[in-house]
Symmetry: C2
Subunit: 442 residues, 2 copies
Amino acid sequence: MGFFFTYPHCQVCDWREPEDLAALLDLELRENGESQHQLLKRVQDVAKYSVKTNHPRFFNQLFAGVDYHALAGRFLTEALNTSQYTYEVAPVFVLMEEEVLSKLRSLVGWTHGDGIFCPGGTVSNMYAMNLARFRAFPEVKVKGQWALPRLAVFASQEVCHYSVMKAAAFQGIGTENVFKVNVDDRGCMNPEDLCEKIELAKSQGAVPFFVHATSGTTVKGAFDPLESIADICERLGLWMHVDVTDSVTWNPHKMMLTGLQCSAILLKDTTDLLKHCHCADATYLFQQDKFYDKSLDTGDKSIQCGRKVDCLKLWLMWKAVGSKGLEGRVDRAFAHVRYLVEEMKRREGFQLIWEPEFVNVCFWFIPPSLRGDENSPDYQDRLSKVAPTIKERMMKQGTMMVGYQPHGGRVNFFRMIVISPQVSHEDMTFFLDEIERLGKDL
Amino acid sequence: MGFFFTYPHCQVCDWREPEDLAALLDLELRENGESQHQLLKRVQDVAKYSVKTNHPRFFNQLFAGVDYHALAGRFLTEALNTSQYTYEVAPVFVLMEEEVLSKLRSLVGWTHGDGIFCPGGTVSNMYAMNLARFRAFPEVKVKGQWALPRLAVFASQEVCHYSVMKAAAFQGIGTENVFKVNVDDRGCMNPEDLCEKIELAKSQGAVPFFVHATSGTTVKGAFDPLESIADICERLGLWMHVDVTDSVTWNPHKMMLTGLQCSAILLKDTTDLLKHCHCADATYLFQQDKFYDKSLDTGDKSIQCGRKVDCLKLWLMWKAVGSKGLEGRVDRAFAHVRYLVEEMKRREGFQLIWEPEFVNVCFWFIPPSLRGDENSPDYQDRLSKVAPTIKERMMKQGTMMVGYQPHGGRVNFFRMIVISPQVSHEDMTFFLDEIERLGKDL
């Protein structure tokens, strides 16, 4: 295991051009097997050329860092290799999943409810949309969407780019039926515009049924005003997702460090909606004459048949550090963000795009040659090339990784994500020094 | 690791009633963390009370056994913890996934095509149905299903119970629009009835677009007649799934022993349908001004955003044993099935339900008290209680695990699945002896 974690000597990535990497790895699968010696070399190569996402200088994604208890849970899950569908083949994990979901629900503020682990946040969001459709129109399961009026989904323009659109396309709702709600400067949904978009949808003959709110958007880390949105949804009878009303997607594989994949859809529902909406009653799995309580066979709540066990890593980590330990990590991440922002304000060339609400720190680096040049006609064009160039240099040198993107009319800017509890103030200082070093000649 | 594999001393399962197990495991998550000593005890308990799915006497599911190279690949995947969406964060796995998919396609008989790893076979099947719908009616992505005529899906009555129904429900197509095609005695789709059901759907105003064929059904292990079905689909312009025409779901986590989850959807398509159908163009992941070939960022082919790496375990195992090694394992499983069937025919009380086409051996055990009593009025009722009782006894003693179910008018029968290459003739003999021992007094 030593080769994974030899920080700080180990690079974040060992960049190779795709054709060189393909040649180095010798990926071809052949008729005959290879020797143990060759295989060990291959395992080392896979590790060497993979990105070290748990390196303290990986800030590129909404996941980072490692929790060794969660990692032990992941190894144990792999060794035990079972499917999360019946008490018969997964007795420990059926009970454990329920306990973990119940704990997550209690942190949301619900004393009762339902839920399930899904393969990632997008699928969790799809569950929510499907359940909302089924609650509003139970006939959709049998008759399909032809039996329904045109439906309308609402999400802020900040999150309309990805999982909501994928869900609408995959579930036959259609992307043009996702109404984009305006946001304020911080990226938070505007409740008044939500009401206007609901009226707009109705005026087009569509039936509003689902509002997708977000706590911590992907780019800005913005929090939608959940209480105002909840009031609107309650008044109009719409399903509200991510909130205090109907359902929440929670991805412990992000800030809770469990490792991919670990995503839960949590429901306030106590009417067994999850089961009614998804059940297909396979008699070869869910025999009705079992010698134990068949309500323990929770597999038919899922849209999947076989389902990977995703609860153990989270449970073991939680047992190891307790709720207090998890809370402390979140506090530490916010403290790092505050430190980083203060340091940025002290240094020339770092321009915050907005004050962070969360662990996303979005900023432009203005290289010396551009400083004071804000009014020249090619400024935006030149600024847009800074982040991609610095990114290319950092990856080819392997010193750290951070993401960038254009967003809502703003040219490319960096999005620094601070998640891992292993990160120190020194890593924050290194980050800023490194951006300066890589961009000083631009 | 020793406690996982101390066969034959280790039981297949250590059965506990749910309330006893919950008490033993102390599942509650608390404010404070626990000591390393307590955590080690918990890890041991999780392993002790979990079903040993890689025990040579676990015949209960369509997965069993373990391949240690695949297991090493799974541990490595967990340690490297990255998401399979861009070359930037998963350079090795982007290239590796393409190689593995290409190899699987070549075994299907395709020199070109596309594909992606999905979280399980049901999701792979959903991809196929969604792609077929999109190919037939590209406007569905934007406008939703209201822009489309009522659609019709076809699947044999053998597979209509689960993943096809879940897909039809989840994707807004509706379960009543899945037309059930009759099967022959062996459980194989009847091509003439397929034509009749297509006409029936048309006469109801529905538009046929998707035929779901199966190679190795869940209960019987039946193979649909792919060539006849392909002819019909080609003539009528329907998407055929699982075959030589359009798409195949291949689950290496079953007979190829990679461990859950490992499922690929393979496509013959070369028009980038997967991308067109699923893309949502998130600029924060798929920046257009990257310094490398952005076609390597394959994440937008997926309906997910973050996606677990599922190719490494398969690749490493394949490198280790070669195509020949994998072929040999399949041959060995079939040899075990033949041996088992011959032994059953030699023994009194074992009644095969049909000659196995695959690795599923379906049979009734007729206890001594029932033999020769076939014509008594309560025979079927008494026979239906045999399998559940034997199953309860074997689980409470933990000696082995095998599934049972009623099926198509036949009362509960055992379904023995022979997959693992670690299984021996002795295990087959033990299996039969044990069924006799557990059922001799019934």
